[in-house]
């Protein structure tokens, strides 16, 4: 076992102590923005921190599939004692099982303490927790492909127009009678009735 020459210095990684959690319940099929997570390089060397989701913590809850979590950046370059924040998105698939989820966001340093022996690497983790509830009801046509859905909608609309035109359209007949008043004036008397097609004036 031999390695590069020995050197002074330290490598260190920090992550926020507070868990990353979603205040409201997540719904299947939806995407959420989680609070940005805070990292630091606590060592004396430049550091390249990699992020990943992994179950480290004990506790109840389903393991968060790594594919549900999207980091704004999965690798962060930090100078000694520099800190930064990274955005996180939670993408809950339609098929997600409901219930509580618990995993950890793990920050792993890529820098190592160079020695002639082994490489020594730092890492830090914080909890990631949220709850999934059923998403909006899929509806009657959920399984029908979208183009077919549009066609069905157009056909239904046309059918509705036809039925409306055929059975619910009423035309009005307006008849005008002229009555003679005793003093000789002529008064128009308008009388409208509905029912027949066409108009007689």
């Amino acid at each position: 076992m031999t390695c590069p020459a020995a050197a002074e210095g330290s490598v260190g990684v920090g992550i926020q102590e507070n868990p990353v959690s979603l205040q409201k319940a997540a719904k299947a099929g939806q995407t959420y923005t989680l609070p940005a997570v805070h990292f630091a390089n606590t060592g004396t060397q430049d550091e390249s921190i990699r992020l990943r989701v992994e179950r480290i913590s004990d506790g109840k809850g389903r393991v968060v599939p790594a594919t549900w979590i999207q980091f704004g950046s999965t690798q962060i370059q930090l100078s000694p004692h520099q800190e930064t924040k990274v955005s996180i998105h939670l993408v809950v698939p339609d098929t997600a099982r409901t219930g509580s989820y618990l995993s950890d966001i793990v920050a792993i340093g890529s820098a190592v303490v160079p020695s002639k022996a082994a490489d020594f690497r730092p890492a830090a983790a914080t909890k990631l927790e949220f709850r999934v509830v059923p998403g909006p009801s899929p509806g009657l046509f959920a399984s029908v492909p979208r183009p077919l859905r549009v066609v069905i909608l157009i056909v239904l609309l046309a059918l509705l127009l036809y039925i409306g035109n055929r059975y619910f359209t009423r035309n009005f007949t307006v008849s005008v009678r002229r009555k003679k008043k005793p003093d000789g004036d002529v008064a128009d008397n308008l009388d409208g009735t509905g029912g027949s097609r066409g108009a007689n004036v």
Partner: protein, 222 residues
């Protein structure tokens, strides 16, 4: 009558409008005055220091080396700086004397530790870390719970105790971090550790340079 009421209404409206305009002018003047005072009186900001809120671990190890290697059988017996076969032992530090790896904890945390595979310089077949305890991730396949072919054991030790089961690729509680053995680290706790590596019964790869990475992790208390 209507005309009189209308005029009164218009007058009242104009009065209210005038009051609003005067109030706005006064407010703007006040804001400008405050801004100018700040500019004349030096910086209006100050720095506030707060206690750390980071869970962290920092590792340092100056000049460490697998400096004491022994065991193995001729002609592949260990030399001082090179691991022999089978079951050669190489040490970083010395139990009861020297612990060259310094691990500094940030906020109160559980300290976990794990090892990578041993990777040969030529990119050939790697050695896998195996464990000797009842609760193992990868069991050692050799006789007497020794590492088998292309397996190795890596154990860490501190002034308190030595890990007799070995590290694995899965991060596990570092029972050597602190006297309690429960891997709970208090805020700012600093501990020193050493490492011993026990090589395989037989390697497949002929490389003479191998790399192993040991990771210490600060994890939530649970």
């Amino acid at each position: 009558m209507f005309d009189r009421v209308f005029r009164l209404g218009v007058n009242a409206g104009l009065t209210i409008l005038a009051v609003i305009v005067v109030a706005a002018v006064i407010a703007v003047a006040q804001i400008k005055s405050i801004a100018q005072t700040s500019a004349r009186g030096g910086p209006a900001t100050t720095n506030l220091r707060v206690v750390p809120t980071m869970r962290s671990v920092t590792v340092s190890a100056a000049g460490v080396d697998f400096s004491r290697c022994h065991h193995g059988t001729p002609p592949r017996r260990s030399t001082t700086l090179a691991l022999g076969f089978p079951y050669g032992h190489c040490y970083i530090g010395r139990q009861g004397k020297d612990y060259p790896i310094k691990i500094t904890n940030g906020l109160e945390a559980r300290i976990l530790v794990g090892s990578s595979n041993a990777v040969p310089a030529d990119g050939g077949k790697q050695w896998v870390p195996c464990m000797r305890g009842a609760r193992h991730v990868v069991a050692c396949a050799g006789p007497g719970k020794q590492p088998g072919q292309d397996q190795f054991v890596i154990e860490n030790f501190s002034r308190y105790t030595q890990n007799k089961f070995g590290l694995s690729r899965t991060m596990l509680c570092d029972g050597e971090f602190g006297p309690s053995g429960d891997c709970i680290a208090t805020t700012g706790q600093v501990e020193r550790e050493g490492v011993v590596l026990i090589g395989p019964s037989k390697p497949d790869d002929n490389s003479t340079t191998w790399t192993v990475t040991i990771t210490w992790m600060a994890a939530p208390l649970s």
